[in-house]
């Protein structure tokens, strides 16, 4: 069974998700138990997979025993296996969180569908980071894309449905270009396996330079919309704000990141750094990333809704990741991949914190949060840890990725490098400016005579947050494992 691991994780999650409605027919109460069990199992499998990859190197798995280039190939490399651990781990924590939270946020009758969607989206995300086949990637992207709006619209109120529809239209607009890009690549190479197609692209790039360029543009637009690359992020604030908090945590923490991993894989595996450097791709990405960093931070500044604030900060953080990728130096790509891993933890935790706040206070307006730090200190301390990680205070994992992206900017060299460093620094400052008032209000606002009490929220709400916060600190203090993985992936992507 151990040899089937890469595919087993995906298959059991997908099958499990289709099982949920049937389970719901039989015994509705069993749904959370079974989905938690499946997700936990998937997480254990992912960890075993990661250990195997660390020990034995990349694992190639041929679906149905059809060898590539004909069959679908699944490749578990370090990055993919680690992402799988993160995806299943965070999804597990989100499910734990949803245990008590979700029936407050959505109609009880829809609860079963929420679990179906979570299993489906995590299965597809794991599939996306592990697959080495372009069309398979497209299918997984589509599953994630369809689950996203569904997870938003499941709230079933006017705001959520509108946000979900907007999200769906934008994401459908992104799917077309991705499929077109894949078709173009297939047209010029005749392969769908990324490794083979990548080798072939190098041979035919001189024959069809424009087709290759067009495909590249399609990929950027397609994945860019889905990952909310500025200025294609318009769907993001509404969607993350009106979704139930566990959904926001999944979408912001994982889905957006997985698309970026997908885009990175496609671009770097197909074209290789040398070809990419000859096209204006990196310049465009850099401009968009810088604009995203600055605009996302500025827009977050005057948000009154705490979830919307965290959502806009996502736009800026995605800008960071794209900046790191597009600088295309060893350090910056390391930093970008590290930030994908780190930001997944931070953003999921912050949305879960928002969930606890809304669970207890029934409001998400920042102005009404005076003194909540005294009512639920654990939650707000974790929120603070996340905020400080975003600002880039050492000892927290956000600092490590910021460090590497900044170092990459300097490595990029010249005046431009310093300018990018300046952008990163200004954005850290802005991060501080929009997060710290929330924290100050939470801990020092409100009734000053009020005694501090411990969080009254159920343990299933607090525990996932605390675990994620501990992860942020541990990975900030001992960044060895993710750093190694990111450096390895960067080396591989840059072909050094």
């Amino acid at each position: 069974m151990i040899y089937q691991l890469p595919v087993l994780i995906v298959v059991q999650l997908l099958l499990g998700s289709f099982l949920m409605p049937i389970v719901g027919r039989i015994r509705n109460q069993l749904i959370p138990h079974i989905s938690l069990f499946l997700m936990g199992l998937a997480n254990v499998f992912s960890i075993i997979l990661l250990f195997r990859v660390v020990r034995e190197g990349n694992i190639h798995y041929h679906l149905g025993n059809w060898a590539p280039p004909w069959g679908i190939e699944i490749v578990a490399d370090l990055l993919g296996a680690y992402m799988a651990v993160i995806i299943t781990g965070i999804s597990f924590l989100v499910l734990v969180f949803a245990w008590r939270d979700i029936q407050r946020e959505i109609n009880y009758a829809l609860r079963g569908w929420f679990y179906t969607l979570v299993l489906l989206i995590s299965g597809a995300m794991v599939g996306m980071v592990l697959t080495n086949d372009l069309f398979n990637l497209y299918v997984m992207v589509e599953i994630v894309s369809l689950c996203g709006p569904a997870l938003v619209a499941i709230r079933n109120n006017r705001l959520a449905v509108e946000a979900g529809f907007k999200y769906l239209v934008m994401i459908a607009l992104g799917s077309g270009p991705i499929l077109f890009g894949i078709a173009l690549i297939y047209m010029i190479t005749g392969h769908l396996n990324m490794t083979f197609a990548g080798q072939e692209v190098l041979n035919v790039i001189h024959e069809y330079p424009r087709v290759a360029l067009l495909a590249q543009a399609f990929f950027i637009v397609g994945f860019g919309v889905k990952a909310a690359l500025f200025p294609l992020h318009v769907w993001l604030p509404d969607a993350y704000t009106s979704a139930p908090s566990p959904s926001s945590a999944l979408l912001a923490g994982l889905a957006a990141k997985v698309y970026i991993v997908g885009l990175t894989r496609v671009l770097f595996n197909l074209y290789g750094i040398d070809v990419l450097a000859t096209t204006p791709l990196f310049t465009i990405l850099k401009v968009m990333a810088v604009a995203g960093i600055i605009m996302g931070s500025i827009m977050a500044l005057n948000q009154k809704d705490i979830k919307r604030l965290v959502a806009y900060s996502s736009v800026a953080q995605i800008g960071y990741i794209f900046l790191g990728l597009s600088l295309a130096t060893g350090f910056s790509v390391t930093g970008a991949i590290l930030h994908i891993l780190n930001h997944a933890l931070i953003k999921s935790m912050m949305f879960l914190c928002c969930g606890v706040i809304i669970y207890q206070k029934k409001t998400s307006n920042v102005d009404e949060l005076g003194g909540v730090g005294k009512e639920f200190p654990i939650t707000m301390i974790c929120f603070g840890i996340g905020a400080f990680a975003m600002v880039g205070i050492p000892m927290l994992n956000g600092f490590i990725s910021k460090w590497y992206i900044s170092l990459g900017a300097l490595e990029y060299g010249g005046l431009a490098g310093l300018m990018y460093l300046l952008v990163i620094i200004i954005s850290s400052l802005l991060n501080g400016l929009y997060y710290l008032p929330v924290l100050i209000k939470a801990f020092l606002g409100g009734d000053s005579q009020k005694e501090t009490v411990f969080d009254k929220a159920p343990i299933t709400l607090i525990l996932p947050i605390v675990i994620l916060a501990a992860g942020i600190i541990i990975l900030g203090l001992l960044p060895f494992v993710p750093l190694q993985i990111a450096a390895d992936a960067a080396q591989h992507l840059l072909g050094q």
Partner: protein, 498 residues
């Protein structure tokens, strides 16, 4: 003493860890009983001080204590490195902290939210010592941020609108300072490939990039230290903070900025590059302006603590000047003045706090007659004021003498003149307080309670720390060997060695 045999020792790590452990202990047990909390609180500071003092045993033998944690995480290695400079400032910081802790037991008795203040007070000690004992820039930056953010809770302690206003300004400055130092650190790493503070000069060459890093460091640390025109948070923060916190803010926390500038100038860039490029001249000019501006602004302040805060700004000017003169004697004066100003300003703020809690007086103009009411407290204040003006044999004189010699060594007698003018201004704004307190009768209705009782001193637990601090202003300078001065001179020599 002989220079630098490196010795591995966990002592520095322990000294930084102990306050953190005691923060947790105080936080856990403070609801059980006040007595237990007080004991934990004091013993945390005392054990830390003892640990710091124990390091003196090694440092006086000429050894340098070095310890690396998380070596595999390079460059995110936690390194502590205690040379003479670190030891001197660290031991003074721990000592002042211990006295301020004893003091604040009584001071905080009637204040609100002690449950927040006590853990923060002891936690900030960990941050400050971490900064002073740091052996690489990453460790330095880490504890710098820890210290800066926990200092925020000092500033807003009163939770009044003014406190929050001062707090936001402090927070803004903290973030700005943090990211500027980050910029400097990361450029340093890019240029040097290391963040180690153990050698003299790690930046390989002087160019635009290293100039940018230097400027970022100076502005970043300048914010913290209160360098003109970045000082605006300082006079706002001090009056609203509780007095023991003001004493620590002014005595220790702003010194981290000055200490950072010394480390950057001498350990990161190295004396030769600084001499060749002449970059510290910018710092020198601004330091001189700071000195004069702080003194002049202090003249017109009526709020006692605000006057003391402006005086701190002018003293920071001295300190930064000493480092920027790039002479050995100037640097010795600089280091010694960090030490002496830490003790003098803590004395002043603690006495101010004693006066405020005892009489409710906040303004200089109301202070008539306080000297007769609280003779010991006011006596300590007078002694510290005289030290600040620079009357021998007080330590303020010794440091100013050394600084002036440094200025002459550097061939910049102008800065000696600046020192002289500023000392005169010091006299102008400190002596009236003393005269007012001793020789004027209070106007009707200004003294709030205990009207003209001959002895109405502060409680012993507040008075004793003040008197110990006041004694320390004299005692070291009349001993045959002025130990702090010897250590300061030695650490200056170490930074000039090749």
């Amino acid at each position: 003493m002989v220079q630098g045999v490196e010795t591995h020792s966990h002592l520095p790590g322990l000294v930084v860890l102990i306050p953190i452990i005691f923060t947790a202990l105080v936080g856990i047990f403070q609801k059980r009983s006040f007595l237990l909390r007080n004991w934990l609180f004091i013993s945390g500071a005392a054990i830390t001080f003892a640990g710091m003092a124990l390091m003196g045993y090694y440092v006086l033998q000429g050894r340098i204590l070095v310890i690396n944690y998380l070596v595999a995480m390079f460059p995110f290695t936690i390194t502590f490195r205690v040379d003479t400079l670190s030891f001197l400032i660290g031991v003074v910081a721990a000592g002042v902290w211990l006295l301020a802790s004893i003091y604040c037991l009584q001071y905080m008795k009637d204040d609100h939210a002690p449950n927040r203040y006590f853990p923060v007070h002891i936690f900030t000690l960990a941050g400050s010592l971490g900064v002073f004992l740091a052996g690489n820039l990453y460790t330095f930056f880490l504890f710098y941020e820890v210290m800066a953010f926990s200092g925020y809770l000092f500033v807003i302690h009163a939770e009044t609108p003014e406190a929050f206003k001062a707090g936001s300004r402090y927070l803004m400055v903290t973030i700005l300072s943090g990211i500027l130092v980050f910029t400097g650190v990361i450029i340093t790493y890019q240029l040097a490939g290391t963040l180690d503070l153990g050698s003299l000069g790690i930046i390989p060459e002087a160019n635009v990039v290293s100039l940018i890093a230097f400027v970022a460091f100076i502005i970043g640390f300048g914010f913290k230290a209160g360098l003109f025109p970045l000082h605006t948070w300082l006079p706002a923060a001090h009056p609203v903070a509780p007095s023991p916190a003001s004493a620590l803010l002014s005595g220790i926390l702003i010194k981290t900025g000055a200490y950072g500038i010394i480390r950057v100038t001498y350990n990161v860039y190295g004396i030769e590059m600084m001499r060749d490029t002449g970059w510290p001249t910018i710092l020198l000019i601004f330091a001189a302006i700071t000195t004069l501006y702080g003194s002049m602004a202090a003249l017109v302040q009526d709020n006692l603590k605000r006057r003391l805060a402006y005086s701190s700004i002018s003293q920071i000017g001295y300190i930064l000047m000493g480092g920027a003169l790039l002479t050995e004697r100037g640097l010795a004066g600089d280091v010694f003045h960090i030490v002496s100003h830490a003790t003098i300003k803590s004395t002043l703020f603690l006495t101010a706090g004693a006066i405020i809690t005892k009489t409710g007086i906040k303004y200089v103009s109301q202070m008539a007659g306080v000297g007769r009411k609280m003779p010991y407290t006011m006596g300590a204040f007078t002694l510290a004021a005289l030290a600040m003006i620079g009357i021998p044999p007080l330590n303020g004189f010794v440091s100013k003498w050394a600084l002036a010699l440094g200025a002459l060594d550097a061939g910049q007698p102008g800065y000696a003149v600046v020192l002289l003018i500023s000392s005169m201004l010091n006299a102008l704004y400190y002596l009236p307080i003393v005269i007012l307190a001793y020789f004027r009768k209070p106007e009707e209705g200004t003294v709030l309670y205990g009207d003209m009782l001959r002895y109405d001193e502060a409680r012993a637990s507040m008075l004793v720390p003040i008197l110990i601090l006041a004694l320390s202003l004299v005692i070291f300078n009349i001993l045959p060997v002025n130990l702090p001065l010897v250590l300061a001179e030695f650490s200056a020599r170490a930074l000039f060695q090749h």
